[in-house]
């Protein structure tokens, strides 16, 4: 079963790569640059999804006190950091080519940086705690507490400032501004990245459980 899933994911992502560069047409005005959406947007989506997973597993830990939930939570934060970095770098490259600068504190850049800071703070907190259960409990409290800023970052700040960022797929108008071929490749990339995240997350949290605690082998 696992082998079929893994092979399937490999084939799926290969098709996404071919589709992104050969099948999907380019957007008017952006030309070849528009192909970045098949990689940048899914990376940003996974960075946010990872935070959601970390938070939900944190809540589970606080309810059940099982260290496996802590391993799932911290593994999600690790992967979230990686994908937030990828989204930030690809986004900055796109910004440089289209807006002329790598960084201009666009609301979406601000949001991904805030997320990145939450992830980094989470690791500093874990680093100071030796006892596995106390570390799990306080990390879970922090990751859930950080969720309280999400409504401000996602809903309030981006509306208070002017943005140059292309409108997101799920925009307020509820309409999709993409031709069917682009949309197909885009949705396939989203699904593929989500699958890669699920696989990496599964490997990582089980490894942490085997290593005992935080993956530092003690």
């Amino acid at each position: 079963m696992g082998t079929i899933l893994k092979t399937g994911l490999g084939l799926w992502m290969s098709l996404v790569l071919v589709g992104a560069f050969c099948y999907a047409p380019t957007a008017v005005g952006l030309r070849e640059l528009s192909r970045i959406i098949y990689f940048h947007v899914p990376a940003a989506w996974v960075a946010v999804l990872a935070y959601g997973v970390a938070m939900v597993e944190g809540v589970y830990y606080l309810r059940r006190r099982d260290l496996r939930f802590d391993a799932k939570s911290s593994a999600a934060v690790e992967l979230g950091t990686l994908f937030a970095l990828l989204a930030t770098i690809t986004g900055a490259l796109f910004a440089r080519e289209t807006w002329g600068v790598y960084w201009n504190w666009d609301p979406r850049q601000t949001t991904i940086v805030a997320l990145f800071f939450i992830y980094l703070a989470y690791f500093s907190l874990r680093g100071t705690l030796a006892d596995a259960h106390r570390r799990a409990r306080l990390s879970a409290v922090y990751v859930v507490f950080a969720f309280s800023v999400v409504p401000f970052l996602v809903f309030i700040l981006p509306r208070a400032y002017v943005t140059l960022h292309p409108s997101p797929l799920l925009n307020t108008g509820g309409r999709v501004d993409m031709n069917p071929q682009m949309l197909l490749v885009f949705l396939a990339a989203l699904a593929g990245f989500t699958g890669i995240f699920a696989w990496m997350h599964n490997l990582r949290w089980r490894a942490e459980v085997l290593l005992g605690g935080d993956g530092d082998g003690d």
Binding site: L62, T110, A114, F117, I118, L120, A121, S124, L125, T128, L129, H133, R134, R137, L138, A140, V141, Y142, V144, F145, A146, F147, S148, V149, P151, F152, L153, I156, L157, A160
Partner: protein
């Protein structure tokens, strides 16, 4: 969270104020920090007239560091004197948290009473509508206190000292600091701003999360 928690909060506040009046340790650190930071910035810039947006940003940077430098004591002192267990036996943890939030807010407001006049003086600021400026200061301070108090409670349980509070509080305070400096700049310019609703909502939302989570911090 019920009426007894609010009563507890009032008693904790009274206790902390009484302790503070004996030593004046916390409030003097906050004031000195704010005054030092203001003077250093003023000296480094060398000019009295700076852009309103820059002044507002500098003011909130000072207030951020002042909070993370000074508000950590609230729980650290209880842990060091080993009085936290006693407090938790006598009162609900939510009540203790609320009391500390009120005390920290009071510390921040007292410190601002000393720092703001100096800041306005050295940077030669013309305040537009005073009510808007003071409202931004007040609600921004509520947000600082609500968020820093919970993070201070977390940090007091780690054994880490120093910059830990700043590292952990910064991501939480990020939207508050953006909104507060934007709104303060608007108040300085006398322009219509729209940040105040964020400043009013923030302590409510973050405080609700804090009240939900604070019981897990001391639970072994």
């Amino acid at each position: 969270m019920n009426y007894s928690s609010i009563w507890t909060a009032a008693v904790i506040l009274q206790k902390d104020v009484k302790t503070e009046l004996r030593s004046r340790h916390g409030v003097s650190i906050l004031i000195l920090f704010g005054v030092t930071a203001t003077m250093v910035i003023s000296f480094a810039l060398g000019i009295p007239d700076i852009d309103e947006a820059v002044a507002a940003a500098l003011l909130w940077i000072i207030l951020f560091f002042l909070s993370v430098a000074g508000l950590g004591y609230s729980f650290l002192r209880e842990e060091e004197q080993m009085t936290m267990d006693g407090l938790l036996m006598a009162a609900s943890v939510e009540g203790v948290y609320l009391g500390k939030v009120l005390f920290n807010l009071m510390l921040l407001l007292v410190a601002q009473g000393a720092v703001l006049p100096l800041f306005i003086l050295v940077f030669n600021l013309q305040i537009g509508p005073w009510a808007r400026f003071l409202a931004a200061m007040f609600f921004g301070s509520c947000g600082l206190s609500v968020a820093c108090t919970l993070v201070a409670a977390l940090v007091s349980r780690t054994g880490a000292k120093g910059p830990m509070l700043a590292v952990l509080a910064f991501p939480i305070l990020f939207p508050l600091l953006i909104a507060a400096s934007a709104d303060t700049a608007a108040a300085l310019l006398g322009a219509a701003g729209e940040g105040l609703q964020v400043l009013v909502l923030y302590p409510g939302v973050v405080g609700a999360f804090a009240l939900m989570l604070v019981k897990f911090i001391w639970e072994e």
